[in-house]
Symmetry: C2
Subunit: 410 residues, 2 copies
């Protein structure tokens, strides 16, 4: 069955905010067997919302909208839905209670605009929003369902399990979808495609391999679908073993994992603790490691030594080497990695020192020049990278490469 | 004039990758006077791409597609566009040269799949991709234009200025669009809306105020459009002054800025340097500060003291206080902020210590309990936060609140 998603909001359409709700919806409903037909992002305008809702209801059994439900006057979704599905607005007393509860929890005062969030079209069934004030609204027409959810990602993500439960009860799907991922490194996408061509050509028609490159890694995802879950699971396992054999030494992880998760798993296997010493990546590696829940058994901490004085004072890098060779040099980055092990009292460390740009380039060291190093109890290794792209991309890629250098040593 | 955007890719539709290309396109074309009619995200399927292209060409003079142009077999955009706009495929010799150039630069070997990227429909005009191998293709039909761009964000963003230049030459738009932003803090969205109601009601019909809350801050954006640029600029300036007066003491920044940019500007004004001492935020504050190009005159560095041993050894926090009061306490976070000034040799510092979850809660300190502190040469201040949401949201919000606490002290 088909699901279409509508994201409502000028702020997303003009590029001031990046939509993450459509992905959150897809990650919940995809594994339940729903095919995502289309995601439409439309402005806070009655006509655009109206057209998107009609187009989505024409192509899909289920439509999920997010956004356009706040208390301020640029939000008109609710009135447009009342026009489409009918009914005057009514003030829902349970929603009023919920808004009072949320405001009490947050220690805030109510006002008339806030109370108006409890107005809903007569034609909808309200699902109480446990994470905020805007109600989740469930509409039906000709056997098709539209669920309108708030736009704040925390609220959408919080309410998705309950909406998914209600959808599963309403439709009973007998299509099963399976995904399996692996992380691949040290090979280009096209060289990998050539290596996998024969294996891919022999895949059954209900299976599909997708290449999902992220800077520094390639995620391979094998998708399968069918009606018999046990048979599908068995065939997925068999085909995935074939994929592993074809990928060979380039497989970095069995599963979907970030570079930080791959390194945390490798450290945990060895009983090692981890730290970082970061100059050009500025704390990005540490923030990626700490984004992983439960990292505290492995992760000790980090020294972000943006200023050279911090490299010397906290990490013990030789001030003479910084002076003579520059902060972006093999000697300095290796001393940073070794110094992090010492300063943070950890077994393993990664270090970065480079020129992320747009300024800072010097003779012989253009923007994108980055030295990375990794240290373990067995020693230190380092590599020089020449990375393309803007500041964000250089930081992103250098962070992944430093983590993958350590992963390759463990 | 209207612009519609089509994002092609299963990986985005199923939520494994977050689309950032639509925002990049909108941020370039919006200020040129293009109204974004709709963003459609569709799967790598001939029929879905076909339908999206026809719907977009029906509603908009300009359509920009991204994605579906890689060398691997799940990319079928190019063949679908050949069907829509006509023409057999031809191998473009200049694209072959460009692919060779890119591969040489990256030190990679060519293969047959890579060469096939130089096949383009006869009906298109090629715009050379300076950032990768997939060509940018320009199609026209009945006076409307479709530009197909690669899906890799670095390549899309790199090629957008050239595409924008060609679009501006092809269409001459006489509609001018203006935006002005301010950052507001210390007030809820609905209280702010109530405070601004009278001012908003008096806005001319060609101006519009949008509320764009980000965790811990509200971005207000005033949009205006018209044909006479000078008159529009004058009226925008007058209305924005009115907005400033209405927002009053809650204005945190005149312009569009992140919390990190607000703090960097405030430090620069005072001639202060900045550091961070992070426990639960794990380097996120440092990475946000270093994401800002040119931060090195202000930012010294950071100590991510995830382990208590690092809090004591590097930041000089009293081990006895950690033992007696816990790491998540006023005393510890204030010592972290003061210790960062000392260890990093900086004038100002922010510090965080909290429980981001999902594990780690203890009696009296549930998930979301975060102490934040900020230190300047004038002293230290701290605050206790009780933040809702999951790990990512707690880290996000605590990072912003810590920066805004320092901003309020400068």
């Amino acid at each position: 069955m088909k699901l279409s998603i509508i994201i409502i909001g000028d702020e997303i359409l003009i590029g001031q905010v990046t939509d993450t709700n459509s992905g959150a919806v897809a990650r919940v409903f995809g594994p339940m067997g729903w095919d995502i037909a289309c995601v439409r992002t439309v402005p806070d305008e009655k006509r655009a919302i109206h057209e998107a809702v009609e187009a989505a209801l024409a192509e899909a059994e289920l439509v999920i909208c997010t956004g356009g439900l706040g208390p301020t006057k640029d939000d008109i979704t609710k009135h447009t839905l009342a026009e489409i599905f009918g009914g005057p607005m009514r003030r829902d007393p349970e929603v009023v209670d919920n808004i009072r509860r949320v405001f009490r929890l947050r220690g805030l005062a109510m006002n008339s605009l806030t109370e108006a969030q409890a107005d809903v079209p007569e034609s909808c069934r309200v699902v109480q929003n446990l994470f905020g004030t805007a109600p989740v609204m469930w509409f039906e027409r000709s056997g098709r369902v539209l669920v309108s959810m708030p736009g704040v990602p925390f609220e959408t993500e919080g309410m998705l399990p309950e909406v998914a439960r209600l959808v599963a009860a309403r439709f009973d799907s007998d299509n099963v979808l399976r995904h399996r991922c692996m992380m691949v490194g040290g090979i280009t996408e096209s060289a990998l495609a050539e290596r996998l061509a024969a294996w891919e050509a022999a895949l059954p028609p209900y299976m599909h391999l997708a290449y999902l490159p992220v800077p520094g890694l390639i995620r391979l995802r094998l998708d399968g679908r069918g009606r018999d879950a046990a048979a599908l699971d068995a065939e997925m396992a068999r085909q995935f073993d074939g994929l592993k054999a074809a990928v060979g030494e380039h497989m970095r992880y069995d599963g979907d994992a970030s570079a930080a998760e791959i390194v945390l798993a490798a450290c945990r296997r060895h009983g090692y603790t981890l730290g970082t010493a970061e100059s050009c990546t500025g704390g990005t590696i540490a923030s990626r490691v700490t984004a992983v829940a439960g990292c505290s058994d492995v992760f000790a901490g980090s020294v972000v030594s943006y200023a050279n004085s911090v490299k010397a004072a906290v990490l013990g890098v030789s001030a003479a080497d910084i002076e003579a060779l520059g902060a972006v040099s093999r000697e300095v980055v290796e001393q940073m990695a070794a110094g992090a092990r010492c300063a943070l009292g950890c077994d393993c460390a990664v270090a970065t020192s480079g020129i992320a740009g747009p300024g800072g380039a010097v003779e012989g060291k253009p923007v994108g020049t980055v030295w990375i190093a990794a240290a373990t109890p067995a020693g230190v290794q380092s590599r020089l990278l020449h990375l393309p792209g803007n500041r964000a991309r250089v930081i992103d890629r250098a962070s992944t490469e430093a983590l993958m250098l350590l992963a390759s040593m463990l």
